[in-house]
Structure formats: structure tokens, C-alpha cells
């Protein structure tokens, strides 16, 4: 079972922090600029709780994530509250993307997204790869998909 790059935790934690700060900021703004009876400590409390939950979730998420490149299928497992195990047979792979969001670029990571014709097709994305790793993975999956080719997609 392959794990994600450990640095992905940084990304997820950063996202959780940003979210917590934004939520706290919104609450603070509401306190300052509206006449709603919001106690002073509430924005801080909101931020704090979100921060703890978010960071904890991000770390657990990293723990739960794993993928495996099997003979004839890509296998993923993930999920903190709801565990999800996905099997994507290579025959069903339509195309493979590798993508880098702005935060991902900042942190030097990339993700690979696998599309199938299924109604949940684009769900299958593997985050937390090195840029080279993502491209290699994309390439490998592409080759495996071509090799598994032989029938129409749907």
C-alpha cells in the first residue's frame, strides 16, 4: 500500500487553519459591525474549535489514505468518518490528469485524477504526490489503461 507524501499533511492542515481563521474572522466581523449580541470570546472559540477539529481531521485523513497499483486495477482507500474503498479496473479508465492547485504548487505537490465513464467518474483523485511522481503515475496509469484496452468504454 502506497502512502501519500507526508507533506500533504501540511497542505491539509494549512487548509484547516485558513478555514478556521476565515470562520473566526467572519464571526468577529459580525460581532464588530452588526448589532447582534455576540459575546467577545465566541469568534476565538469558533476559530479554536475549528482549528482543533480541522487539524485532527487532516492528520487522520493522512493516516487513512492509501493507494495501490494492482495488476489490473487501481485500489484506493480513504475516509475518516466514512471509510471508502474504491477499485478502478484499468479497462475502465478513460483518461488521466495530473493537476496542481495554487496551494499544492506552493508546497511542491501535485495530484493525479483518474476519470472513468461512471457516474462518479472524476471522484478518483490521488492527492499528495510529488510533481514527478504525479506525472509518472499518470503515465503509468495511462499505459496500463491502454494495455487493458480492448472493449468500448461504456
Amino acid at each position: 500500500m502506497n502512502r501519500l507524501h507526508p507533506r500533504i499533511r501540511l497542505l491539509w492542515v494549512a487548509r484547516a487553519v485558513i478555514f478556521a481563521l476565515v470562520a473566526g474572522g467572519v464571526a468577529a466581523a459580525a460581532m464588530l459591525y452588526t448589532s447582534l449580541p455576540i459575546p467577545v470570546y465566541l469568534p476565538v472559540a469558533i476559530s479554536f474549535v475549528l482549528l482543533v477539529v480541522g487539524v485532527g481531521y487532516a492528520l487522520l485523513r493522512y493516516q487513512a489514505w492509501g493507494y495501490e497499483i494492482r495488476d489490473d486495477s487501481l485500489y484506493l482507500q480513504r475516509g475518516v468518518l466514512t471509510k471508502v474503498y474504491t477499485v478502478v479496473p484499468y479497462v475502465r479508465v478513460q483518461h488521466v490528469d495530473s493537476a496542481r492547485g495554487p496551494l499544492e504548487r506552493l508546497i511542491g505537490l501535485a495530484s493525479t485524477i483518474v476519470y472513468t465513464a461512471g457516474s462518479r467518474g472524476a471522484d478518483v483523485s490521488i492527492p499528495g504526490l510529488t510533481p514527478d511522481g504525479a506525472e509518472d503515475l499518470q503515465d503509468r496509469l495511462k499505459r496500463l489503461a491502454i494495455r487493458a484496452e480492448g472493449d468500448d468504454a461504456v
Partner: protein, 625 residues
């Protein structure tokens, strides 16, 4: 190149004019007469006339520019007045060919043809309008060219009527249909109209107080029920009038419709899922509904109309029939009977009961809250539902289950709306196992087989819900294994069919099996074509030349669909070009040959190499294998 029917020019112009002209007439006459009296009115007439002329001119240009052609392997459409568009749709990508005609079109003998591919989105090819005869010809020609028959007068495959909706069934469909979109409108309308009506009606209707409110609500509810029922009845009858499902070769054809008449074809090997749906009422009287699902196809969306049809987006759905007939039909189409279902573990019954109890509890809590605020509400009344919750929990468990038949993954879920789904293994896209935090407490999982069906988008995937988590893990791998096997079988079948068609003697079973075995055992380093050539002489084909060409043909057929036009090398070319560009130069020739024949599955050498690749690829990441 063929043009559309010339009649489509006036028809389209008229269609387009009506709304524009109405708007223009209104604006021009009110505005025109207000400003310039008679002269202004004249100007308005001129303006309207000009608009109509412009529309007619545009439509004529559209007609002039619109050309289509049925070539040997694509349907070409050239269109566009201002920006030109050339479109080529390969036949084997075409899923459905739908013909529709409304009353006006039927009067002038026109029809609209829509060609759908799996691409989802919109309709890929749309011919507005051709004559009805031409539409039927196109439908037939596309089917023929898709099969790969090159001779234009090849014998038409057998037609077999699978299902016809009897008038009795049609009326039952109507009676059971409620058009649920209407009540909303009626509700808005009704609430505003009720006081007006009440003021006219000369009975002592209480117009104030609680009594008035209750009477009003009851009347409104009745009105809504009656109107939506009538609307549902009408739309069901109009939609399903004359419903007929026919099997033509390897396609399903349906036709239906009273005012707007639809004819369409669905290739059977593009079917994603069959669903048998019923509810307690239908079960009681032994009826069921059948839904036929193809990929990315949401027909009828642009036509609006018909609540029942738009509801599910499945044109060939059989609205209602005796359960036995539906079962027989499923068996006829997919060759699968209703299996014995494996139910979730018994302890799960408690889970469902608890769930219903929680829901009841929530209701009680909410009512209690309301009671605290307003008072005078018997907030404990939902507690009578407690025994009901127990029964419902057991029923929910009873109606749940899954089965693995020879070729299908079958699931059954739901009590009020019970759905039994038949998913052929070779249609599975991904297998997903999910386990929520609550399911983990009960040590159960849900396994979903994702297909490319259009209903699945709405959340109707085939799912084995709440099965033992150990079973779920096996089921997950089992599904992907069976998909692999089913695909291999299909390839094998196609190649055999192709070989038979090419004249390798079918009456010589030994020779044929020899060929097949040689290909199957070609994993051990022999390329499949070599083995085929070795066996070739033994095959004793009628003529030497055919025997020589056979292996090549077999190679092509194994990877392209049987619907292919023969000697179409595109798939292979494309593949080899992909191979050229891919930097993986480590692939040996054997592998490529295997790959061309679709037999990578059992190849231990290539997979071992892949595993190694995997490690090096992810060298940076922690490897916990």
C-alpha cells in the same frame, strides 16, 4: 450529401415566427398606434413582415447549408449559417436514434431525428426536419451500418415484439399517475383564488376563523389532488399510448405517444442497468415497472412534457405490467432470472428499528418544542408509531439484498419504492465500498457498483447495503474480477463470431477450439498471432487465402467492437501511436502482442515489473507495503 426535407423551411420558419411575431405585434401595435396612429400601425405591419421575411430567409439559408451523409463508418453533418460546423459521428459510438413527431409534424409528414452518443450533455446529432420515411430510413441505415453490413440490401434482422401495453394497462398507468409538478402551481394559484371563490359561492361558508382555514385547506388539498391526478392521467395516457417494445437484431426499439409520437432504438449491448421497480400497492396487485438505462442518455429532457418520462429519463421504460411479464422480459433481454437474494445479517434489523425509533423520537422532540412555545399540542402522539417502527425496520431488512448471478450483479433495496437492479458485470465501472461511522459500529459495509448509467447520477446506483464487512471486501474484489472475466469472455466471443464470419470452418469444432486454446495459452511468450499461424493450416478453411487473412482479422476484432466495419484500422493505429509516444520503452514485444489481444490479465511477468515500477515511482513517499 443529403438535404433536409424542403418542407422543413416553412415549418421551422413558422415555428420560430410564432413567438417572435406575437411579441413584435404586441409591442409594435401598442407602441406604434400610440405614437403614430394609423401610420404607426402600418409601420408595425411592415416591421412584422420584415421580421417574418428575415426568419424565412434565415431558415432557407439553414436548409441550404444543412447537409448530412451516411458514409460507411461515420454519419457526417455539415451545418451552420454563420459559423460552419462539420461533424462526424462514428456509428459504433451512436447509442440511440430517436424519431419524434408532434401533431403538426405528423400533418405535414415531417419528423425530427436525434442521435445520441454516450457523451452525455446534449444530443450529438439532430436533424430538424426530414420526412418520416427518411427518418425511418436513417434509423434503419444507422442500425445496419453499425452492425457492419456493407450490402445495402442485407436481410433485415428478425423483429420480435417484446412488449405491448394493453389499453387496460394503459388506463391503470393513468389511474396510478399523479403529476406532481402541477400541485405547486395550483397551490400558488389556489391560495389566491380561494377567497374570491368563497365570496361568490352562496353557501354559508365560514370565511373567518379556524373553521374557514380548515375548510379552505381541505378543499385546496382535494382540488390539488384531483387536478394533479387528472393531469397525471392525461400525461400518462398521452405519453404511453401505443407503447411497444420490439427487438430488432441486437437493438431494442420502442414507440409510443399519442400527440407527440416517439420512435427510438437502443442497442442492447449498450444497456447499463435494468431496474424493476414497484411499491406496496403495485406488489399487492402483482404489477411492476421496468426501467432501461443506457449511458449518459437523458432523453426527453429538451422535450419537457410527460411527468413520468421526465422523472426518470428512461425512454424505453415499461410503465406498468404484470410482474411475471416484467420478469420474463428481463430474462429475455439480459438472460437473467430473479435470483435468491442474500440478505444483510439479521442483527441489522435492530439497526433499522433503532433508526426508525430515532426518527420517531426526533418527531416527538420537535413537537415537544412546538408545544413549549405554543402550548396545547399532544406532543406525545407520534409515540403510537413505535410499534410501526419495529415492523418497518424488519420490512426494510427483508427487502434488502444482493446476489451474484452468472453474469449479473443484482441488488434489491427499498420498501416503499423497491428497486431491483440488474447490472451486467461487464458494465461495471468502479466498485466502491463505503463504511460510515455508524456502519462501523455494526461491522457492516455498503458496496456500490458504479455504472455509466444516467439514473445513477440521481443516486440510483446498484448497491449491496449493510453487508458483513468481510463479505464486502470480497464482494468488492469479486466484482472487479468478474468484470475482468466478463470482458475477456466478450472478446473471445467476438473473435469467434468474427472468425466464423470470415470462414474459418465453424463446423469443425476441434479446429476452432484449437485456435481459441492457442490464443488463450499465448501468455507464455508466444505471440498470439504466431500461435494462430501455427494452428492456421490445421483449421482447414474452405479456401487458402481466407485462412491466411484470418489471423490478422482475428487480431483486429479482438480489440474493436463487433459493430465495427471490417478492416477499420483506426483503433490499432491509435494504440500503436500511443505506444510510440509513451516513454515506457521497457515493454517487450511479447507484451505488446498480448496487449493487442487483450490478454494482459494473466501475465505474471508484466505485472511483476509493474509492481517494481510502482515502488520506484513513489520512491519519495513512505512505502508501507
Amino acid at each position: 450529401m443529403t438535404h433536409l426535407s424542403p418542407l422543413s423551411v416553412p415549418y421551422r420558419a413558422a415555428q420560430r415566427s410564432v413567438s417572435i411575431v406575437f411579441a413584435l405585434v404586441f409591442i409594435a401595435f401598442t407602441g406604434g398606434t400610440a405614437f403614430g396612429g394609423f401610420l404607426g400601425g402600418l409601420g408595425a405591419v411592415a416591421l412584422v413582415g420584415f421580421a417574418v421575411l428575415a426568419i424565412a430567409g434565415y431558415e432557407f439559408a439553414y436548409f441550404q447549408r444543412f447537409e448530412y451523409e451516411l458514409t460507411t463508418d461515420t454519419l457526417d453533418i455539415r451545418s451552420g449559417v454563420f459559423s460552419r460546423r462539420n461533424r462526424e459521428i462514428p456509428y459504433r459510438r451512436i447509442q440511440n436514434v430517436d424519431i419524434s413527431r408532434n401533431v403538426a409534424q405528423r400533418l405535414v409528414g415531417l419528423a425530427a431525428v436525434d442521435l445520441e452518443t454516450a457523451g452525455g450533455g446534449g444530443t450529438e446529432g439532430s436533424l430538424r426536419f426530414v420526412t418520416y420515411e427518411e427518418a425511418l430510413r436513417i434509423q434503419k441505415e444507422v442500425a445496419r451500418l453499425k452492425r457492419g453490413d456493407t450490402a445495402p440490401d442485407a436481410p433485415e434482422p428478425d423483429r420480435e415484439v417484446l412488449f405491448e401495453l394493453t389499453p387496460r394497462e394503459l388506463s391503470i398507468v393513468g389511474v396510478l399517475s399523479f403529476d406532481l409538478r402541477l400541485p405547486g402551481i395550483i397551490f400558488l394559484f389556489g391560495t389566491s383564488i380561494f377567497p374570491v371563490v368563497a365570496s361568490f359561492v352562496d353557501v354559508p361558508v365560514p370565511t373567518r376563523g379556524i373553521a374557514a382555514g380548515v375548510v379552505g385547506l381541505v378543499m385546496l388539498a382535494l382540488l390539488v389532488a384531483v387536478i394533479s391526478w387528472v393531469a397525471g392521467f392525461a400525461s400518462a395516457v398521452v405519453n404511453y399510448y401505443g407503447f411497444r417494445l420490439t427487438r430488432v437484431g441486437d437493438e431494442l426499439q420502442y414507440e409510443r405517444g399519442l400527440i407527440q409520437h416517439y420512435t427510438g432504438s437502443i442497442p442492447i449491448d449498450k444497456l447499463q442497468t435494468l431496474t424493476i421497480e414497484d411499491n406496496p400497492l403495485k406488489r399487492r396487485f402483482g404489477y411492476a415497472t421496468l426501467l432501461v438505462e443506457t449511458a449518459g442518455y437523458t432523453p426527453g429532457a429538451e422535450n419537457g412534457g410527460g411527468g413520468n418520462r421526465a422523472r426518470r429519463g428512461s425512454e424505453a421504460a415499461i410503465p406498468l405490467a404484470k410482474r411475471d411479464r416484467v420478469r420474463a422480459l428481463v430474462e429475455e433481454i439480459e438472460g437473467v432470472a430473479e435470483p435468491a437474494f442474500e440478505r444483510p445479517p439479521r442483527r441489522i434489523r435492530r439497526r433499522y428499528v433503532i433508526r426508525y425509533l430515532l426518527a420517531t423520537g426526533a418527531l416527538v422532540g420537535a413537537l415537544y418544542g412546538v408545544n413549549v412555545v405554543f402550548g396545547g399540542i399532544p406532543w406525545y402522539s407520534p409515540l403510537v408509531l413505535v410499534p410501526v417502527a419495529a415492523v418497518a425496520g424488519v420490512y426494510q431488512w427483508r427487502h434488502r439484498g444482493y446476489a451474484l448471478t452468472e453474469n449479473h450483479f443484482v441488488t434489491r433495496n427499498g420498501f416503499w419504492k423497491r428497486e431491483m437492479r440488474f447490472v451486467p458485470y461487464y458494465r461495471i465501472q468502479t466498485a466502491i465500498e463505503t463504511r460510515t461511522i455508524f456502519q462501523r459500529r455494526w461491522r457492516v459495509s455498503t458496496v456500490t457498483a458504479d455504472t455509466a448509467g444516467s439514473l445513477s447520477i440521481v443516486g440510483g446506483d446498484a448497491a449491496a447495503v449493510d453487508i458483513e464487512d468481510g463479505d464486502a471486501a470480497t464482494l468488492r474484489t469479486e466484482l472487479s474480477d468478474r468484470l475482468r472475466d466478463a470482458l475477456a469472455d466478450r472478446r473471445e466471443e467476438r473473435r469467434r463470431a468474427r472468425q466464423a464470419a470470415l470462414g474459418i470452418d465453424v463446423a469443425e469444432p476441434d479446429a476452432e477450439r484449437g485456435v481459441a486454446d492457442a490464443v488463450v495459452t499465448a501468455e507464455d511468450g508466444h505471440s498470439a498471432s504466431e500461435s494462430l499461424e501455427e494452428v492456421g493450416p490445421r483449421a482447414e478453411a474452405p479456401s487458402g487465402r481466407e485462412a491466411e487473412t484470418a489471423p490478422d482479422e482475428a487480431e483486429t476484432s479482438s480489440e474493436s467492437s463487433s459493430n465495427d466495419v471490417p478492416d477499420e484500422p483506426t483503433a490499432e493505429e491509435e494504440e500503436s501511436s500511443w505506444d510510440d509516444t509513451s516513454p515506457g520503452g521497457d515493454e517487450s514485444d511479447e507484451e505488446q502482442d498480448d496487449e493487442r489481444n487483450g490478454f494482459i490479465w494473466g501475465d505474471p511477468t508484466s505485472t511483476a515489473a509493474d509492481e517494481d515500477d510502482a515502488d520506484t515511482d513513489e520512491g519519495e513517499s513512505a512505502d508501507e507495503r
